[in-house]
Symmetry: C2
Subunit: 224 residues, 2 copies
Amino acid sequence: MSTRIPVVEAVTKANDALAGHNRERLDGLGIFGVNIMASPGAGKTSLIERTLPALLPTLRVGVIEGDIATNFDAQRVSAAGAAAVQINTGGTCHLEAQMVGRALDELPLNDIDLLIVENVGNLICPASFALGTHANVLVASVAEGDDKPYKHPRMYKGVDVLIVNKVDLLPHVDFDMPRFKRGVAALNDGVTTFELSCRTGQGCDAWTAWLREQVAQRRTAPAR
Amino acid sequence: MSTRIPVVEAVTKANDALAGHNRERLDGLGIFGVNIMASPGAGKTSLIERTLPALLPTLRVGVIEGDIATNFDAQRVSAAGAAAVQINTGGTCHLEAQMVGRALDELPLNDIDLLIVENVGNLICPASFALGTHANVLVASVAEGDDKPYKHPRMYKGVDVLIVNKVDLLPHVDFDMPRFKRGVAALNDGVTTFELSCRTGQGCDAWTAWLREQVAQRRTAPAR
C-alpha cells in the first residue's frame, strides 16, 4: 500500500503531458474545448442536449462522451446533431488525457469549432486529471444539496464555470442558495456561474452565449 | 502506467483481508453493519437522519461518516442522537477497510447494536472496496435519472438493498420507473428495494423495519 501515492503521482504527471499535447492539437485547429464534470445525474448530457440546438445552426460541435458503460449518451448527442464519440472506461472513474487523445483521432477535427467532453459522473477524481480542454465546467444540481462545495472543495476550486442546474426543482427541495454560494465563493470567488434548468430551458441562453463568445475568440486566432 | 492495474489489485486484496477482520470484530459483538453508498447528494445522510429517530428508542446505533472533507455529516447524525465518528479521506474517493477499522476503535462497540457506515459520495469506486459490513445499501435518487443502473452496473450488481429516494420529486422530474427497474432487474434481480422520501418520511417505515429485523437476527447469535 505504501507505493500507492508515488504511482498515482506518476500517473497524473504522465497525464498532464498528454493533456498538453491535446491542448496543442486543439489550439492548432482553433477549436475551443470544454470538460464538463458533475455527479452522476446532475445533468451533463441534458445540458449538452439543450446546448446543441442553440449552437448547431452556426457552430460545428464535436462531443466526446465518457462513461463506465453504455453508449446511451453518445446516442443522445448524435440524435441532437453533433459528431459524437463514446469512451467506455470500464471501471475507471474519470477520463484521462490519453483516452481523449484517442477519441480526438475519431472526430472530424477539421470540421469542428467547439469540442465538448463529458466526463464520467464523479465529483472527485475527474478534478485531478487535466484533459487538454480550455475550460473546466462543473454542473451542480440543486437536488444534490447545498453542502457540495464544502464536501468537494477540490472540484469546486478547479473549475472555470459553474452551472447550477435543475433550478425548476428549487420549490421542491431543501436547497439553501446563499449557503451554497458562500461555499463556492470561499473556494472560487467570482467563478463564471449560470443558474438554469435543462428541463425547462430557463437560463440556458446565457450559457450558450458564453460558449459562442469563447469560440469566436478562438476563431480570431491566426493558426487555423 | 502499465504497473497500475497490478497495484490496484494488490490494494483491493489487502483491503479484503482487512474487511474480513472488521467483519469478525462485528460478528464477535453481535453488531449488524451496513455500508451505505450513493452518488453525492442522493440522500445518504438524510436517510440516516430519518432512520435514527425510528431506531434509537430501542436500538443502539453507531455511525461512521466518510467524506473527502468536513465533519458536517457526523455533526448531523450526532445531533440525531447516534455515536458518530467522521473519517476525512483527503482526496480518496471511497472508504477502505483500514479506515473503517480505525474508526471502529473510536466507537463504543460494546454499546452498539447497529453500525451504519456512510461511504464517500461516489457511484464507482466504493463498489470495489469491501468494508466488512453485512449489507451493502445503495441509495438512488429519482432526481439522478433512470439510466444509472445501466451506466453503473458494478455498483447496482453488488448491493443487497436498493433505496429509491426522493420519490416526492417524481411529479417534477423525468424519471421512467419501469426503465429504471428493468435496468436493476437485469443486474440484481429481486434485490430488496425500498421506495421512499427522506424529505417527507413516506415509505421510511419499511426500511427501518428491515433494519430492526436484521439486528434482531444477529442478537440471537450466541457470540455476544
